[in-house]
């Protein structure tokens, strides 16, 4: 892999939908620990709608496609996830209008712009125990590989970084989102948003034939 084609992004989106639908209940259960147990369902309703409307989505460029997915989030995704994912896709859509292929460096920039949008929308920063804590290291892994342009290695490192974030943030106290309103009691539970990003990247690795380390969850299941 070198440059990132629109076809690859389409495949990544479809893989994401599979991941989210397969893990709907698992993600909701995680959200039940310090939140309100709807994260999986909320996200799934968005990706179900994406699947339903897939054939009609304007795929003339990466940007039009991502914009449409942002609109699907606004229409179908409830909870915090609607504004967060909707904003993320919106910000990623802007710089890719008219493009059908992007470089790894551009992808890293586009993710940074999504991160900035999410921070502006919800006021969270790194360390607040939200999915941003997974997106930041993913972005950094991509940026680190930008010069070499090796997308496969970037993806592998990004997935490992996201996975590491699950455990690194577990003991944190949530600073934003519903979990932040429970104070100390959000510590020692993994954040579902971080788990979701890690799981999605793991599945991207599989979908693109990139070898990756098993997720912390997979290791735990294998041991148990």
């Amino acid at each position: 892999m070198s440059d990132i084609t629109q076809a690859m992004i389409e495949k990544a989106l479809q893989t994401t939908a599979e991941t989210v639908l397969r893990n709907e209940h698992y993600f909701s259960d995680l959200d039940g620990l310090a939140g309100d147990g709807d994260f999986g369902t909320s996200l799934a309703s968005g990706f179900k709608a994406m699947n339903r409307e897939w054939d009609e989505i304007d795929k003339s460029s990466i940007g039009t496609m991502l914009l449409k997915i942002s609109m699907i989030c606004s229409k179908h995704v409830g909870g915090s996830s609607g504004p967060i994912w909707g904003t993320g896709f919106m910000k990623a859509a802007m710089p890719t209008r008219g493009k059908t292929e992007i470089t790894l460096a551009e992808a890293a920039e586009l993710l940074q712009s999504a991160i900035d949008g999410i921070m502006a929308r919800g006021g969270a920063k790194r360390g607040d125990k939200t999915l941003l804590d997974a997106l930041f290291p993913v972005q950094e892994a991509m940026a680190a590989h930008s010069a070499a342009g090796d997308t496969a290695s970037a993806l592998k490192d990004a997935a490992a970084a996201a996975d590491a974030a699950v455990d690194e943030t577990r003991s944190l106290r949530a600073g934003r989102g519903r979990a932040s309103q429970v104070g100390e009691r959000s510590t020692n539970t993994p954040d579902p948003g971080i788990v979701a990003i890690a799981t999605i990247l793991q599945d991207w690795c599989k979908a693109f034939g990139v070898e990756s380390a098993p997720t912390a969850e997979e290791v735990k299941k294998a041991i148990a």
Binding site: G35, S42, S74, G82, G122, Q181
Partner: protein
């Protein structure tokens, strides 16, 4: 799952269809956006809108009606409505007098309504936003999104609804929201969890002899998990947490609400009220109005919340003003 439900994904649309079917003269629905609005919106009056996740009925769509909300939308159970639904709700009742967006303080709801308000303002709608945050269970802090909004919501919207009905302008109705919110405090407590239909399993585990003190209306954890106590001790706990927070002082006139979280029967709520009324008397508080029943629920959770609102003449008059909603007895 021991619930009356068909397809869990259709639970919210079906219940909303039922609410409108039962109140054909009062309400109409826009099912695509899961929103319910009053028929015959008076364009000369401030419109009041609200919206949050479902599962808190009669809040919020069942609080639409003359003297109460002008429109409300609901997301899936316990999830803020999608941005588009919030936007359409504002647009559907936007009057010349403007719109007050009155939302419980949860980050999901705030983000959705923020985006919707930006979109509506870009369309030329005059509006103001107000966040309700009466829950004393979890502390307010600069580093979090602040306190949660719970049953005190009823008092904010009742007073604002009455003021709007009486012809107050947007700034005046906003000021009422602020006054009520500044003077209202709530704390809840759960004996059991609840089961969101789409999830199909309880939202948290709780032992047969345990209670969750300060629970959120989505089953979020509160202050502590404790051994279950006699009703009177539970009321004391809730009352002290609430009454010391503002605080409410001897000589104050108050409204007292004992709110059922969905699975607690009326008789138990009155056992709680009986004790709470005594505690008010002990503290020198005069109960000018009282409310015992289900105002803001967590689906079928067994539990309660206790709310105090400090009154002045203006608020007392607004609470006493007539109102009509889908929620009625006769």
């Amino acid at each position: 799952m021991k619930k009356f439900v068909n397809d869990p994904e259709q639970f919210v649309p079906e219940f909303m269809a039922g609410v409108v079917a039962a109140n054909p003269d009062l309400l109409e629905a826009i099912p695509e956006f899961q929103l319910i609005k009053r028929k015959n919106v008076d364009a000369s009056k401030v419109a009041i809108v609200q919206g949050s996740g479902s599962g808190h009925e009669p809040a919020h769509v069942m609080a639409v009606g003359p003297g109460m909300l002008t429109a409300a939308c609901q997301g899936p159970v316990f999830a803020a409505p999608p941005v588009d639904a919030c936007y359409e709700t504002i647009k559907s009742v936007a009057t010349d007098a403007g719109v007050l967006v009155l939302v419980n303080n949860y980050q999901g709801d705030r983000m959705a309504w923020d985006m919707a308000c930006e979109m509506a303002e870009a369309d030329g709608v005059t509006l103001k936003q107000f966040w309700i945050n009466d829950d004393v269970a979890v502390q307010d802090s600069l580093y979090t999104v602040g306190r949660r909004g719970v049953a005190g919501n009823f008092f904010v919207l009742k007073a604002c609804g009455a003021a709007a009905e009486a012809g107050a302008d947007l700034d005046a109705v906003y000021a009422i929201a602020d006054k009520v919110n500044s003077n209202v405090r709530t704390m809840g407590l759960a004996l059991t969890s609840c089961i969101p239909p789409a999830k199909g399993t309880p939202i948290f585990d709780i032992g047969d002899d345990e209670m969750e003190v300060g629970v959120g209306i989505h089953g979020e954890p509160g202050r502590e998990r404790a051994k279950i106590k006699p009703a009177d001790e539970i009321v004391e706990m809730l009352f002290d947490a609430v009454a010391n927070d503002l605080p409410y002082n001897s000589g104050d006139r108050v409204a007292l609400m004992i709110n059922g979280l969905g699975g607690t029967p009326p008789a138990e709520l009155y056992v709680l009220y009986n004790k709470a009324a005594q505690l008010c008397a002990d503290r020198g508080l005069t109960i000018a109005r009282n409310y015992v029943g289900e105002y803001c629920t967590a689906i079928e959770m067994a539990g309660c919340s206790l709310t105090l609102l400090k009154l002045d003449d203006e608020l007392e008059k607004l609470l006493a003003a007539p109102a009509t909603t889908a929620c009625r007895i006769f």
